[in-house]
Structure formats: C-alpha cells, structure tokens
C-alpha cells in the first residue's frame, strides 16, 4: 500500500431525477439547480468537503439509465469513469423504482467498481406502504448501503463516515448468469482478450460502449453478433437486461415489498392535469395566475422598497453639499439602482412560481402536453427544459440545449431561446404595465410571455424548413412522481435568485446607470450627449411613437435588459425621487400604445451581451450570434410597429 492518501475523489452516479444533485448539494454545501424532472444536470460538477482530516472531492455526474447507452449524458458519465476512475462511487438509488435503479448498480458491480449505495426517497415509498429491508439488500449486493434524503441533512455525518470507511474498498466483480447463448458470446469475447464486463457492455450496446483493440477482436465480435442475431429475435440489450432483472428480482424478493400502483392523490392529480381536454387550459390558466400573482403580490413589498430608496435619496440630497459627486450619487446611482431594486419582489416571486412548477413535477407534464406542438415546429421534445429555463436566464438555458444531439434541433433551440422572456425583462414589463395598464397588468404580462413563445415557435418552424435535419432523435420521457416541494429547497432556491439579482444590480446595472447619468449630465452647457445620441437614432423608432428617452433606454439595454428600467428612471429625472414621479412623467410622455410597443420591443430585440457570448460559444461561430442579433432587431421593430398601429386603433 502506498502512503495514506489525504484526498479522495467520489463520484455521484444514478438514474435521472433520483436526487443526486440534492444529495450533492447537501454533501458539499453547493447550491446547484435541482428540479423534479430528468436532465437538469447536463455536465458534471465538482464540490469539496473536508471530513475528519480527509479531503473529499465530489463529482456530480449527469443522471443516466445505463452505462451502455450512447447519449450525451451517458457518454459524459461513462468516459469519466474510464478516463479518471474515482476512488469511490456513491451510487444514488431511488427507492420508488428500485429494480430499474439497481440495473445501473449491477452494471457498476459487474465492472468491479468500488461503490457505496445511498437509498433515496425511502420515506415516499414507506408512505405508500412499501418497505425495504436495508440490511438484507446490503447483504445481497455485498455493498454498504444506507438510507439518505436529499431534503434534510441530519444523516450527512453518517453518510460521510460510511464513505470514509469505504475509501479503500476491495471489490470483486459481480457475476450474473446470463442466458446460455449470451454466455457463449461472452466466452468468445473474453477469449480474445476482453474482460467479462467489457464483453457484456459490448454486447449490450451492440459495439458502442467499448473500444476494441485489434483486428482479431473486431472479427470475433462481428461473428458473435451475426450468430446471435440469427438465433434470436430479441435484441442483445433485452436479453442481457433479462439476466440483470432476474438477478435483481431474486435480490428484491428477499428484501422488499412494494405496491405497484400510484397513490390515489397522484392518480387524481394526473387525471386532472393530463386530461385530454382540460390539460392545456389548465396549463395556460396556471401560467396566467403565475403572472397575475407576480405582479399583484409583488407590488406591496415593491412600495416599501420604493419608499426606502426615496428616503435614502432625500437624506443624501439634504446632507451632502452640492457637487458633482452628489449629483452622481443621487441622480445616477440611487435613482438608477433604486429603480431596478424596486422590482426585486416581482423577480423573486416569478422564480418562486417557476421553482414550484419544477419541483412538484408539473413541468414534465407540461412537456407532455406541449410535445405535439413542439414536434410540429421541428423542435425536439427535449427542447422543453431549455425553453422553460429561458424564463429564468437565457444563458444557462442555451447551455442546457447540449442534451439535444441532433444538430438542427439543438441549433433551433438555441436560436429561439432569447425569445423566451428572461427574468431581466420582467422589471421593464412591471414598470410599463403598471403605468399604462394598471388594471390588467398581469394579463398584459401574460400576453407578452405568450407572444414570446409564439414568436419562438414561428421562428422555429421557419428555421426547420430552411436548415436540413440530420436524423430523427427519439423522444422518450419518464414522468416523475408528484412531489411536495420541500420548504427548505424552495427557500434556498428563491434566496439564491434574490442574491443573483442583487449581485447583478451591484454590477452591471449600477455601472449602466452611472454611464447613462454621465452621458446625461455632460456637457454642462447645451444639449447633453445622451440626448444628442437619442435624437440621432430616434427617427428609427419614431414610427412606434418612442421619444429619444425610450430610444436611449433601448440602446442601453444591450448590456443587460434591466438597464432599460434604470435608464428610464435616470433619463426621466423628476423632482419627485420615487416611482410615482417616473410613472407620471412616462405616462404623460408616451401614449399607451407606445408603452405596449416598448414592451414588445424589449421582449423581442437582440439578446443581452452574456447571451450573445453564450450563443457564439455553444454554436461555435460568430455567424449564429450575428443571426440572432439581426433576427431579434428586425422582429422587434416589425412586432413593435404592428402592435403600436393595432393598439392605436383600440386604446
């Protein structure tokens, strides 16, 4: 034995949606995004924990069903295990679907990898009257096993100790007896130098999972495939799975009892939400309620923040001697930052509702409801997750499109993502809708989001006709069970979002406000630079009834969309240092139709800098980033112009 190591690598591996990321967060104190649907984790992530003097290095791998499949997530996990074998694997297993989860476990065991098993969601199973004899199961698998729960952390110490004990785990490969022809094939392959697990993996994946080294192996392998294909109708994957499940059922027979049905409440929920006729209306209604609540509930705390900000502004104004610095602080910094800070409650509420839909398991159902529509416009079913994430921030949403392998579907998903209205645009909507459509603000916001989706789908349909498809990717999705979102993870999630928003205010929005103030204040005599710039570009926007102020605000939104709200506040400097003043000024300067057009323009026009950078990186070329910018600008102009003219007739 070498000297005692002080640093060990532990990989978390398990089926999708079995709670790996929750457990990872518990173990490392990280706050990675979780959700009750498959595929939230796309690439692997790392975290550290020091425990009893030993450095634990945790890797959270994407959820996979099998090591023998060849999808992106599976390849990430498989390549990781081969290229940099971890010291120990923490195999996370969902107690509610034990047999299928253990199928992956047996693949690990056959490979002879050192593992510790964490049994998640045992409480859910027990609530439904099932039970698992942990001791018996552990004996059967000859591996340490313990119950865990990603939602509370009282067992983490115990789990860490268990990991610590197993750092030098000696492991013998598991031997499962397969059907005689499969055994014959395994023998043939082991004779040309493959190990048993490599042979099995090779057969299971029909030659994809394992690299063959020399011609003799390739020849033998091909012969084996032909022989087996002649003897059996079933695929090799099926025959091997039968062997696996045979072994697992033998194991579970002794150690578990479970009900095979959904619980009554779940069944009822599915009957309603997935109902053929009610499903879609309920989905739309839920979204409407979400935006209505985001606006109405958010306005109360927003008023308090507004009052505090204007109080601070007045105090600073009264206490400081007149100087440029004072103007900078009061008219630039406090006004601009405060103007966006006011929308913190709305942003937090929106994220709360989205998290609620995700964690309860409703989002996966919504994906099912909209799948038909999505496939009609050339979108892959897997595009749903990136599109929904786009409501939060387009940057991670575009990155999560990596799960889509078919290049055309992935490209379309990336390019239409900016039309999914991200949370940065919310402040602009709340501000303008509150001024011009006070009574129907929620409905107006809902319509804007719907318009965004509509535009996204239309563009997707057009792109699908112009770009050629490589191949069809199959869409098979597992619906997760309904789960009551845990208060703790919801609170963490919302807190994180609030912190992000505040960080962004302290960064790009603060700097943006100062820049706008600077351009607004100089030269000291004559027309300010900002106004000159605004008036120069304004003719472009005149057909929508925008003044130079709105023009400048839109230009500043290139940096980040929240800056639009900040700019409006700074540009419409009013004596009253609060939102009421801005509302009055904007309300008298703009016609309601222009206000609506401004919202539509904000929704559709070019993505923010961070998103452009992401598009370039993910598509690998500036070309698509440029396409995205141009597409956005053209659509925004046409859309805003149409909306302005149509709305002028009505309002």
């Amino acid at each position: 034995m070498a000297d005692k190591k002080t640093s060990y690598t532990i990989a978390l591996l398990g089926n999708p949606n079995c709670g790996k990321t929750s457990l990872f967060n518990q173990l490392t104190g990280a706050r990675q995004r979780t959700g009750n649907m498959a595929g939230v984790t796309v690439t692997s992530r790392e975290g550290h924990k020091k425990w009893r003097g030993i450095d634990f290095h945790f890797i959270d791998l994407p959820g996979i069903y099998s090591l023998a499949n060849s999808r992106v997530e599976e390849r990430v996990a498989r390549d990781y295990l081969l290229a940099t074998p971890p010291d120990l694997i923490l195999n996370v297993v969902d107690a509610n679907n034990l047999a299928r989860n253990l199928a992956l476990t047996t693949q690990l065991l056959e490979q002879g990898l050192p593992i510790v098993i964490a049994l998640n969601m045992l409480d859910e199973l027990e609530k439904q009257g099932g039970s698992i004899d942990l001791h018996e199961l552990s004996l059967g698998l000859v591996k340490p096993l313990m119950a865990s729960d990603g939602r509370s952390n009282h067992h983490i110490a115990e789990l860490m100790d268990l990991l610590l004990e197993n750092l030098e785990q000696a492991s013998e490969p598991l031997l499962i007896a397969y059907e005689p022809h499969i055994e014959w094939a395994i023998n043939a392959l082991t004779e040309v130098g493959l190990t048993r697990w490599q042979s099995i993996r090779w057969l299971e994946s029909c030659g994809d999972g394992v690299m063959l080294n020399h011609d003799e192996q390739v020849k033998t392998a091909q012969e084996v495939l032909v022989t087996l294909a002649n003897r059996h109708d079933e695929s090799l994957a099926e025959m091997i799975a039968e062997g696996r499940y045979g072994y697992i059922h033998g194991l579970l027979h002794k150690s578990s009892s479970e009900h095979q049905d959904q619980s009554v409440a779940d069944h009822w929920l599915d009957r309603v939400t997935l109902n053929r006729w009610l499903g879609m209306p309920i989905f739309v209604l839920l979204l409407w309620v979400m935006f209505e609540a985001t606006f109405t509930l958010g306005s109360y705390p927003a008023d308090w923040i507004d009052a505090s900000v204007s109080w601070v502004g007045q105090q600073v104004g009264a206490l400081m001697p007149a100087s440029l610095l004072k103007n900078l602080l009061v008219e630039g910094l406090i006004a601009g930052v405060g103007g966006v800070l006011v929308f913190l409650p709305n942003v937090v509420l929106l994220f709360f509702f989205i998290a609620l839909l995700e964690q309860s398991g409703y989002m996966a159902r919504a994906a099912f409801l909209t799948d038909n529509l999505m496939s009609k416009v050339g979108l892959h079913g897997k595009a749903f997750v990136p599109l929904v994430m786009g409501f939060g921030c387009n940057v991670p949403a575009i990155m999560s499109a990596r799960t889509i392998e078919e290049p055309r579907a992935r490209l379309i998903t990336i390019l239409i993502n900016p039309f999914m209205s991200c949370s940065a645009r919310l402040p602009v909507y709340v501000l303008l809708a509150g001024i011009f459509f006070t009574d129907n603000a929620g409905t107006v916001m809902f319509s804007l989001y719907m318009l965004g989706i509509l535009v996204a789908f239309t563009i997707a349909a057009l792109l699908a006709r112009t770009i050629t498809s490589h191949h069809d990717e199959t869409f098979i999705m597992e619906l997760p069970p309904w789960r009551f979102p845990s208060g703790r993870s919801m609170a963490l999630h919302v807190w994180d979002k609030a912190a992000d928003f505040l960080k962004k205010i302290g960064g790009v929005i603060l700097v943006g406000s100062i820049l706008i103030w600077l351009l607004q204040s100089f030269p000291l005599h004559g027309t300010p630079w900002l106004e000159q710039l605004g008036r120069f570009v304004a003719p472009l926007f005149a057909p929508m009834g925008f003044g130079w102020q709105e023009t400048v605000a839109l230009l500043s939104g290139f940096i980040a969309k929240e800056v639009i709200a900040a700019s409006l506040v700074v540009v419409y400097q009013t004596d009253m240092n609060d939102m009421a003043g801005l509302q009055a000024a904007l309300g008298s300067a703009l016609a309601p139709a222009s206000g609506l057009a401004l919202m539509v323009f904000t929704l559709l026009y070019m993505p923010c800098l961070a998103t452009i950078a992401t598009i370039r990186r993910e598509t690998g070329s500036w070309r698509w980033a440029a396409v995205s910018i141009m597409m956005g600008l053209v659509l925004a102009w046409i859309g805003a112009w149409l909306v302005y003219n149509v709305a002028s007739l009505w309002i």
Binding site: R100, E234, A237, Q260, L274, R276
Partner: protein, 81 residues
C-alpha cells in the same frame, strides 16, 4: 389473446408487452428505462391530438410518441373498465 401495437391500445385496456422492435438505439433506450417484455402496460393519459401518450408500467409513467410506441407489440389482457 389478441396482439396489437401499443398505439392501438385503448384507454382502460390492460396489456402485456410481447416484443420490442425498431432501431437498435431505441430498443436499448427502452430496455434501459425498464420497458421490458412481459410487463403489464396501460394507457395513463392521452394528449389533445392523441399523440404522444403516457403509458404506465407498474409505478412508472413513460411518455411515448406514436412513432416509437408502434415498435412495441402488446397482447391484450382484458377489456374491462
């Protein structure tokens, strides 16, 4: 005993999976998800236009489009309900 493909299965009918055909990646995927020969399967939900549908297999609910589902042949068990 009556054999049919999965999309032909009607709501409230129970069936047993007989064979899984189709391209190799699809078969591997289904197997990995636990869709195996001999298991009970029924329709859990149908979307507005009838495609895709959700099937329940034991406690699992799996959403399949007709195209993929048509590779799965099932045997009708009962017509009850």
């Amino acid at each position: 005993m009556f054999s049919m493909t999965l999309p032909e299965l009607k709501t409230r009918q129970q069936a047993i999976i007989k064979t899984i055909a189709g391209p190799e990646p699809l078969r591997q995927r289904l197997v990995a998800l636990g869709v195996l020969k001999g298991l009970n399967i029924s329709v859990a939900a149908t979307s507005l236009l009838g495609n895709p549908r959700v099937y329940s297999i034991g406690k699992q609910q799996i959403c399949l489009r007709s195209k993929e589902a048509s590779y799965i042949e099932v045997e009708l068990q009962s017509n009850g309900g």
